[in-house]
């Protein structure tokens, strides 16, 4: 097991780097897209709400693999060249954005309606009230679950292995295929994933406990 780690240290670490890079890009991008769809979901116009809801329900109910493969297979055929890392990260972003939209929507709706009404009657526009009054209060509810989404992203980014995205899982697959030592290789890969996800998951649990008390 130590041999696998020392002989392939560079490869594994670069794999872990791609895993984290893809997860971070997808987190930021899906936070933006997710917030937009959350705002659509709470709009006053019915048809806007329908669009938001349809997007969230549709994406949430199909597998990440199908979304990712669609980008990897269809886009190069008709639109433009796209490497596995890009296709995988876009797939991750779209998939995660639907879950983040639900979280952000729940966060905004947990802020008492009086906050918005109070801000509006003090002369703030809807956008101003959202940005300065509602969002800062919603963040407190949203942040802990964003941490959990990031853990999910790190795990889900293993989908890059399907599209040759050079992530940790992909590198593990290659090392396993060249050394024939599948058992030790996947053990090492597992430990590397845990090094990232376990501390985060305990930190999130701590955060949830202490923020909810405040």
């Amino acid at each position: 097991m130590i041999n696998i780690l020392t002989n392939n240290f560079g490869t594994l670490i670069s794999g872990l780097g791609y895993t984290l890079l893809s997860s971070i890009i997808a987190l930021v991008a899906s936070l933006i897209i997710g917030t937009v769809f959350a705002l659509l979901e709470i709009s006053h116009k019915k048809w806007v709400r329908v669009i938001g809801k349809a997007y969230v329900e549709f994406i949430r109910n199909i597998p990440l693999l199908v979304i990712t493969m669609a980008f990897y297979v269809i886009v190069p055929q008709f639109v433009m060249q796209m490497d596995g890392f890009t296709a995988g990260t876009i797939g991750l972003t779209i998939y995660t954005s639907a879950f983040i939209a639900e979280t952000v929507r729940a966060g905004i709706q947990a802020v008492p309606a009086g906050q918005m009404e109070g801000a509006r009657s003090n002369g703030l526009s809807y956008t101003q009230a959202m940005v300065h009054i509602v969002f800062p209060q919603a963040i407190k509810i949203v942040v802990p679950s964003l941490g959990n989404q990031f853990i999910n992203l790190v795990k889900n980014s293993s989908i890059l292995a399907f599209v040759a995205g050079f992530d940790l899982m992909y590198q593990g697959k290659i090392i396993a295929a060249t050394t024939f030592n599948t058992f030790d290789t996947y053990l090492v890969v597992g430990v590397l994933y845990l090094v990232v996800t376990m501390p985060m998951s305990y930190a999130m649990r701590y955060l949830e406990k202490h923020w909810s008390r405040a």
Partner: protein, 217 residues
């Protein structure tokens, strides 16, 4: 348009349906086993038996924090290295069950935690043993409250079966890949079919969960 008509030929559609059937079979069997194991693990973590519960909790956390894809690789590619050889369907079911049991255990543990403590105390003071009270009083109330998170975990499981294409489980995604692999014009129709079929199955589950939840609570 012609591509869609050609792609959805009777042969291809029945091939897709056979894939969907394998997806459903593997999902149902995995849900069954992971529900039982998840309940046992959830209770084991909740009851706080010295050392034992802590160890169970740590193992649950380890599994929850690994990618399912890795667990799948491990069961199918790594276990043969130490002499355990599984064919594709059992390997998929075992990998899914291991992962989902850990996910369900957390849901069930927090569900049990949400049942008021007075329920247990009242059951005990009426002469029930701890396990009688747990099985007859606490768990039924806990499950009632847990339906939405449980079903959304089941939906995840159905979606996650698609990952088993990598070990060539003949499920829906795998069959669609084989069809569009033969003719490049079938790519879009096949992805449309995949999205639609997964959506129908999972959306039906989520609607059912809302209906049951409303009836019970």
């Amino acid at each position: 348009m012609q591509n869609f008509i050609n792609a959805y030929s009777a042969v291809n559609l029945s091939y897709l349906m056979r894939g969907l059937w394998v997806t459903v079979e593997v999902s149902v069997v995995s849900i069954f086993f992971s529900f039982i194991i998840g309940t046992l693990l959830g209770v084991a973590r909740y009851v706080k038996i010295k050392y034992f519960s802590a160890i169970v909790g740590f193992i649950i956390d380890l599994i929850r924090n690994l990618p399912l894809l890795l667990i799948l690789f491990f069961t199918y590619f790594a276990l043969p290295n130490i002499g355990i050889r599984l064919s594709v369907i059992p390997a998929s079911i075992i990998a899914m069950t291991v992962f989902e049991s850990a996910m369900l255990a957390e849901i069930i543990r927090s569900g049990i935690g949400a049942v008021p403590i007075g329920q247990m105390e009242a059951a005990r003071s009426n002469g029930m043993t701890y396990s009688q009270a747990m099985i007859q009083i606490i768990l039924p109330q806990a499950f009632k409250k847990m339906i939405p998170p449980l079903v959304s975990q089941f939906i995840s499981l159905v979606k996650d079966t698609s990952l088993a294409t990598i070990i060539l489980l003949p499920e829906l995604t795998q069959h669609a890949q084989i069809i569009y692999g033969q003719n490049v014009n079938y790519t879009i129709p096949m992805f449309a079919a995949l999205a639609l079929l997964y959506f129908i199955v999972n959306y039906a589950l989520s609607v059912a969960s809302h209906v049951i939840d409303r009836r019970l609570n």
